[in-house]
């Protein structure tokens, strides 16, 4: 069989594959964050359902919601959400044809990471400061 050059889909990175750039990492993290956010959405729905079942069932659920592991999970969900939000705006910009040049894509990648850090840090501060006295 003839050895024809293939587009690099047998092997993503390394010899014969794509060269790694940090924009690759953002791309795969966008998917990972999106899948994680499905579970975050399930958590939100569980919270709403427990409230809809009345005060007694919500009171049983509340200690779980305000526990430290739940706050850590919420913080991770907030990181995923802010990242997916900022990177999603970047994807929407690409969809209308903005920022395709390599330098622009790298600049917007850096902006996404910076925005994720700042906004999620603020939200995580709020999550842990929230009701800290009543815990």
């Amino acid at each position: 069989m003839a050895e024809r050059p293939l587009s690099p889909f047998t092997k993503m990175f390394g010899e014969g594959g794509y060269r790694w750039a940090y924009t690759n990492t953002l791309s795969i993290l966008h998917r990972a964050a999106g899948v994680a956010l499905i579970f975050a959405l399930l958590g939100l729905v569980v919270w709403l359902i427990s409230a809809s079942f009345g005060a007694a069932s919500y009171a049983a659920f509340l200690p779980l919601l305000t526990s430290l592991p739940a706050r850590i999970v919420m913080s991770m969900a907030v990181i995923a959400l802010t990242f997916h939000f900022f990177n999603g705006l970047r994807h929407l910009a690409w969809d209308v044809g903005w920022g395709f040049e390599r330098s622009a894509a790298r600049r917007s990648a850096a902006l996404v990471v910076a925005g994720t850090f700042i906004v999620s840090a603020f939200c995580i501060y709020c999550i842990f400061a929230h009701g800290a006295g009543t815990r």
Partner: protein, 132 residues
């Protein structure tokens, strides 16, 4: 013998039939979710506490129930489409039993034998047909 024109056979008979619709709905739900997510985060973080009365009063208050149901519905839709895309992108791949690498069986150029139900990949992992 069919008398249908070739164009009529081809139109709307792509691989998935609704790829453009999938793409558009994903973008439109994303655009709608962007302000909704800001609203939801702002609202959740400014709740004074998570007690039953506070939370139910917040859900009940004027537009909150409407916007909240929009968030849940649109996020479910957007997540459905996204997860579908992820599954479609990776379902062809399998893990090579020898080198533990992820392979695309259809792109394998050297090896046509199947290992169990899965085709083996020898083009880059170096596993021989016999050992697979």
């Amino acid at each position: 013998m069919s008398l249908r024109a070739p164009l009529a056979k081809v139109l709307n008979h792509g691989a998935a039939h609704d790829g453009v619709n999938h793409w558009w709905v994903q973008r439109v739900t994303a655009l709608a979710l962007a302000p909704l997510v800001i609203w939801l985060l702002w609202q959740l973080l400014s709740l004074p506490d998570a007690n039953y009365l506070t939370v139910t009063a917040w859900i009940r208050y004027s537009w909150n129930a409407v916007l909240l149901s929009f968030v849940v519905l649109l996020a479910s839709w957007h997540g459905w489409l996204g997860l579908q895309m992820v599954i479609e992108d990776y379902e062809h791949r399998f893990r090579c039993p020898r080198s533990r690498c992820w392979c695309y069986p259809r792109s394998c150029t050297r090896c046509w034998r199947r290992a169990g139900s899965m085709p083996c990949c020898a083009s880059h992992c170096g596993a021989s047909h016999e050992r697979l």
